[in-house]
C-alpha cells in the first residue's frame, strides 16, 4: 500500500506541476504599445481611433487602422486579412501580434461587441483557430 500511495502522490504532483508550468507559459499579459516594442508577441487592448484613415488596401492585401491602447498610445495596426465583421461596432479591440518599427503587425484580432448576451461567442476570433 505504502509504495503505491507514494507513486500515486508523486504522479499527481508531477502531472500538476507540469500542467501548471505549461499553463503559465501559454498565457501572457496584456501590454500597451510602448511595452510591446521589446516583445516578440504581445496582446494589446485598445479602441479604434476613427479619426484617421482606415481600410483594406488591395495593393498590399492588408487591413490597416489606428488603434489607441488603454494608456493612450496610438499606433498603426496592419492585419493581413480583410476588415473583420463587426469592426466598427466593436467597443474594444484586442490585437495579437508583433510590434515592428512603430507599426503593429497583428496576426489575430478580437472584437468585443456591445453588450448583448447570447448563447454563442459574441465576439469573433478573426482567424480560424480550431483544434
Amino acid at each position: 500500500m505504502k509504495p503505491k500511495l507514494i507513486i500515486g502522490v508523486l504522479a499527481i504532483v508531477g502531472f500538476t506541476s507540469l500542467l501548471m508550468y505549461n499553463f503559465g507559459n501559454s498565457i501572457s499579459t496584456y501590454v500597451n504599445f510602448e511595452e510591446a516594442e521589446n516583445r516578440s508577441t504581445s496582446h494589446v487592448i485598445g479602441n479604434w481611433d476613427n479619426s484617421q484613415e482606415y481600410g483594406f488596401s488591395r495593393d498590399t492585401m492588408q487591413f490597416s487602422f489606428h488603434m489607441k491602447d488603454e494608456d493612450g498610445n496610438v499606433r498603426r495596426v496592419v492585419y493581413p486579412r480583410p476588415k473583420p465583421n463587426n469592426f466598427e461596432q466593436a467597443t474594444q479591440l484586442v490585437v495579437i501580434g508583433e510590434m515592428r518599427n512603430n507599426i503593429f503587425h497583428a496576426d489575430e484580432m478580437l472584437m468585443k461587441c456591445p453588450s448583448k448576451y447570447n448563447e454563442n461567442p459574441e465576439f469573433e476570433l478573426a482567424t480560424g483557430g480550431e483544434s
Binding site: F15, L19, M20, N22, F23, G24, S26, I27, S28, T29, Y30, H43, I45, F56, R58, M61, P80, R81, P82, K83, N85, N86, F87, E88, Q89, Q92, V94, E98, R100, N101, H105, D107, L110, M111, K112, C113, P114, S115, K116, Y117, N118, E119, N120, P121, E122, F123, E124, L125, T127, G128, G129, E130, S131
Partner: protein
Amino acid sequence: MIAKIGHLLLSGAFVASIAALILYAIAAVKEDKTIEKISNWLWGIKGVFLCISSVALIYLIMTHQFQYYYVWNYTSLDLETQYLISAFYGGQEGSFMLWIFCGFIVGLGLIKWTRKPYRAPVMFVMTLTQMFLLSMVVGWDLNFTQIGATPFRTIAQEMPNAPFILANPDFVPSDGSGLNDLLKSPWMMIHPPVIFIGFAMMTVPFAFAIASLWTKTYHEWIRPALPWTLAANLSLLTAIFLGGYWAYETLSFGGYWAWDPVENASLVPWLLGTAGIHAMIIQRKSSRAHKASLFFAIMAYVTIIYQTFLTRSGVLADQSVHSFVDLGLYGQLLAFIVVMLVVGVGFYLYRYRELPSPQEESKFLSREFMTFTGSMLLFILGFVIILGTSSPILGKLFVANPTPPDIQFYNDWSMPIAIIMAIATVFGQYLFWQKHNWESLAGVLILPLLITSVATVLSIVLGDVRNLYYMVFIFAAWFTVIGNASVMLHLLRKNPKLVGGTVTHIGFGALLLGIIASSVYTEPLLDQRTANYNQRVLAGDVFDDEGFPVTQQIEMFELEINRPKLINNKYMVTYEGFDVSDSPRPGQQTYRLRFEPVDGGSTFYMDPVVYPMLTSSSADNIEWSVDPHVRTGWLSDIYLYVAGSQYVEQRNEELERQNRRDPMMPVGEENGESTDVQNIEIHIGETISAGPFNFTFREFVPAAEEVLPENTQIGIRALIRVEHEPSGNAYDVEPLFAVYNEDGRSYTYSPPLEIESWGMNVMFSRVHPESDSIELTVHGLDENFEEDWILVVAEKKPFVSVVWLGTFLLMAGFSISILRHWKREKDTQKRSSAKS
C-alpha cells in the same frame, strides 16, 4: 399590467421554491409522505407561475411593447415570428427562464418516476438549484441590495438617467434595437433549448448523488441516475454539435471549434458527465468505484454552474473580451457556485470515510481498471480545459493581467490524453464482455491490429502525413474504430441491445480521425501568384518598405469578373457576377463563382452571400457581414466567403460622400451626363487610349439596308474593338453612321450602342473625310473605371464529414444505452412494486 403580472408571478415562483425547499427538507428528514405531497404541489405551482410569466414575456415581445427594456433590446418590428419567439431566450434573463423551465419539466419526471428513499432529497436538491436560478430573474430591489434582474423592467427603470427618460418618463421607443443578425438563424431556435435541457438533466445525477449521501444508500442511486446522466450527455453533445455546425456553416468563425470559453462551458460538463457514466457502469457491474461515481456526478453539475459563473458574471468580460451583459449578478452567481460546492463537495468529503471502498485492487487487465482509466482521463481532460478557461482568475498566479492561453495549450494536452483514451477504449471493451489475460487478449487483438496498421499506413501515405506524433494519433484513432467495431460485430450476434458502448467508442475514434484531418490538413485555396508569394514569405525573402522581413502570409485571392484564375492547380475559378436582393435580408448580395476542376470532374458553383447587418448599421455606416458557402463532400469541404467586393466598396464610398454632403460640389457632377462624354478621333487601324480603355478602329463594314433610314446617302458601320486594359476584357462593337435626306435637308443618324456591363455607350458620330478619320462619341467612360472584382477567402477542409459522422455515432450510442438502462430501471421498479 401584463408585465406586472409576469414580474409578480416570477416573485411568486421564487417564494414557492423557497417554501418547497423547506418542506422537501422536512419531508426528507421526517420521511413524511403528506409533506412531500404538499411540496410536490408547490413545485407544480412554481412551474405554473413560471410558465405564465414566460408567456407574459413572449406576449410583450410579440406585441412589440418597446417600453420594456428586454423587448426593446432584443427585438424589433420587422422580426419574423419564429425569431420573436426565440428572442425570448435571446437575452440573459430569458435564457435563465428557459433553463428554469427545463428544470421544472425534469422535476415533474422525477416526481413521477423516482423511487421511494430518494424522492424527497432529490427534489430538495432540484428545488435548491431552481431557487438559485429564480433568484437571478426576480428583480427585487431591496434597499441595501438588488436581487436578480427581471426581464420585465422598463427602459425608465433600466436607464433612469438617460436624457430622453428625464425629458419624458413615459417615453416609448417606436422600434426596438433588434435581434443580432447572427442570431437570426434556425440554429438559434434549437441550439439554446437543447443546451438548457442538457443543463437541467445534468442536475439529476447531482441530486441523486446528494440524496445518496443523505440517505447513506451508496449502491442503488446509480440505477435511476444512469439513464438521466446518459440523456443529459446526449443533450449536451447535441447542443455542442449544433453550436459547432452553426459556427462553421453560417457564422464564419472559420471552423467548428475554437476552444472558446463559451464552447468549453458545455464541453467540460459533458466530459465530466461521461466520466461519471463510466464510473457508474463499473459500480453497477462490479460494486466498486462508488467514490468516483459520486464525485463525477457532483462535479458535472458544479462545472456547469462554474462555467455559467465564468461566462455570465463578467469575470471573462474584463480580461478576455468575451462579452456578456453584466447584470450585476456577480454576487448571486458566486453564492450559487459556493453553495453548490459546499452542498456537493463538502457533503462528499463529510461522508468520505463511510463510502464503500473495494476490498482489493483491480488488476491492470480488467474491465474495472480500463473503464476507470477512461473516466479518470475524461476527468483530467476536463480539468485541463477548466484550467485554461479560468485563465482570467488562475492566470494571476503567473502574471498581473493574464491573457487567455494559446490555443496550443489545449491542443498540446488534449492530444496525448485522447491517444491514451482511444487505446483504453479497445482494451476496455474487450475486457468488458470477457475476461482476458495478456495472452488471450493478444490473440483476439491480432486481426484488429492488422487492419488498423493497414488503415494507418494507407492514411499516412494517401494523406502525406509527415509528423510522427500525428501518425501515432491516427493509429490510435483507427485502432479505436476497428477494435470497437470488432467487439460490436461480436455483440451484434449475441445481443444487439448491448452495442451502445461500442457504437459510442467507434464514434469517438471517428471523431478523432475527423478532427486531425480537418484541422491539421486544412489548406487555403489560393492562386499561383499568392502561393508563390507565401512561399517567399516563408523563406524570408519578402521585405516591406522599411526593409523588415514580412512574416504574414496572404490567405485570400482576388477575382475579376469573367477572368478565370487557376486555384491550387486544381480548379479554374471564375467570378460571374452578383445579384442584389431584399430577401431574406434587405440589401444582400449573392455572388456567383464557377469552379471547373481542371482534371475533368463536373463544374459546380459557389454562392457566398454578403449582407448589411441591420442591427448595427446606421445611416452613416453600413456594417457588412458575410455568410460563407460551404460545399460539403465526403472527402472534403470547400469553405468560402467573399471578404470584399467592388459593390461593397462603392456603397461605402457613396455613403461617405453623402455624409460629407459637400455643398460646393459642381452641379454637373449631380446629373453626371455632361462630364463623362468624350469624343475620340481615330484613324483606321489606330488604337487610342481613353482612361483605362483602348479603342481600336479595325475597319469599315457595310451597313445592311434594313437598318438604315429612308433616303440614305451614306450608310456605314465601323468595327471598333474596345478593350479594358487592366482586365484584358474586350468587346467588338459596330456602331452605325448614316446621312439621309428629309425635306431637302441632310441629317446624320448615329444610334448609340451599349456595352452593358461597363455602362458605356458608343456612337459613331462623324466622318472626317479630309483627315481620313472618324469620330466616336463615348458616354459613360469613367476615368477610374474598374472591372468588378471580389476578394475571396477559401479553404479546403478534408473530412469534416467524418467529424459529423463521429458525432452522430456518439449520439446513436448514447441513445441505445439510454433505452437499455431506462428499460431496466422500469423493470426493477415494476418488480419491486409487485413485491410490495
